[in-house]
Symmetry: none
């Protein structure tokens, strides 16, 4: 069945610099860990902090961007899907599992000055916002794009006087 949703959205800090590899077929893969922290009141009513660590995997063009601009400590927004892989442990012969977030969108947060490992901080890509895979923008049709009086859809709609 094709109806489903598998979405993860995280805001956190990188626990390490992204590790870049290339597959045999020439695709770029990048891995890093991400810490998400949240506070909560424990049973005594005291504030505590709980940190959760996530394994992030990024493929393709977005992997290249992550590899270039992300550093340990950087705060990012990550969107992706959950994926659990299994493999046979060569030592024990046991089946093992690991769950990762396959990243499909990434946004750097804060200003470049937060960058963490940063220094010669040329922290931003020249062509901004190409951070996401061929995905989200849901671009309106090219033809009448320039004609629209505001940020919205096609001109036809603007005849209407009432929203509904």
């Amino acid at each position: 069945m094709a109806r489903g949703l598998n979405k993860v959205m995280l805001i956190g800090h990188l626990g390490n610099d992204p590790e870049r590899r290339e597959t045999a077929s020439g695709q770029t893969v990048v891995n890093f860990t991400l810490a998400t922290s949240e506070g909560f009141k424990d049973s005594s009513g005291n504030f505590q902090e709980r940190t959760e660590w996530h394994r992030i995997v990024v493929w393709g063009k977005l992997a290249d961007i992550c590899s270039q601009y992300l550093k340990k400590g950087r705060q990012v927004y990550i969107e992706g899907r959950l994926q659990t892989r299994s493999w046979d442990d060569s030592k024990t012969g046991e089946k093992k599992y690991t769950t990762e977030i396959v990243c499909s969108d990434m946004q750097m947060l804060g200003s470049g000055r937060d960058s963490g490992g940063g220094m010669g901080d040329s922290s931003y890509p020249q062509e901004r916002q190409q951070y996401s895979r061929p995905s989200r923008p849901a671009e309106p049709p090219a033809g009448n794009y320039g004609e629209r009086p505001s940020s919205g859809g096609a001109q036809e709609f603007e005849k209407d006087d009432l929203p509904f």
Copy 2:
């Protein structure tokens, strides 16, 4: 700056059959309204239901799918971004605003039998899941896809014994 997130996720029922139009440039546009309901306790502690209506706009290939398979009453998951358009009311000369959800992903929910207005209910596309724009899947590299022992990433990862 290009760092931002503008995401809407809705689960609700269509208030009307999708209305399909074509722009001058030949792009398909589809509009429909979606009702999302939620319950809440009022100040007297009684359960009440609150229904919110949303204007949905869909472009391109996904619009064609919506036009073909969605009907009034159908339960769907909608993902998109918020967009507020303005126009000048020809009668009063006032500036008016309307906020819409520009849909980038759609999933039909429930079985076809829930369809609502349905009848000759051949409710599903033959090629399922092409419901989303060229987006989410974050497809692993083609080259070694068939080699993977499980649902996961590239083979390199499976040498690892520990998740982190």
Copy 3:
């Protein structure tokens, strides 16, 4: 029907300092606008930036936190639900609509140094992370619930003639 989802997730910058009010029943309400920006390629293949403006409404304890710690220019993550209110324009007698995000969770992004309007930047609450409301519904204040002409917030807002 009670099954539904109405969720908005935004990352952007405040367009103005939060405006704090109190309802007749003593509930705190805060309003601000949020700009979310995204890049896209126009029909000529050039990168463009599109900014969308959102009206944010926050109630209760979370409103107090927003009022205290957020400033114009601050980058934040906002989670909430969409709500369209209507009112009768006292001048023209027309029915008008405005769509807002009723905020149920807020996270300040970047370090305090990004704050924007900041100065004597004591940017963080002592008791962190109590940023989220007790629950999803983001219930409007009890006192004037029955009085509201539409599905929206408190009556005070309905004096306004323009969405922003």
Copy 4:
């Protein structure tokens, strides 16, 4: 710091009836697996289906609702946060990890007739929509909080050797 986001949103079908337990401190815990499916084009351009399995954990009042109304095969929307627990495998002495979604919101999808395993299908709670927990943190039960060897759920789970 407490600023972070750790959110998972799934739409899928239950792989088994929910398993209900009670902790020593009297809190209800429910576990089930959820399958999310998505289609994609493989490297030959053919449509394939990929199913991902997720472990869901639910606490408290929402656990009771899940236990009562959900059945194997039922389609649901699940919202929660990712949590990776570790434990020492008693047989091999190795450290093992499992990642779960701690559920904070649940919506039943489709009509009751979709229920799957259902039969005497009085599928809906009388007081609808009280499906969400009081708040985001999805706090584990207070009573045994200090006893947990890792960041995870109740001790009972750690007897298991396999994630599923």
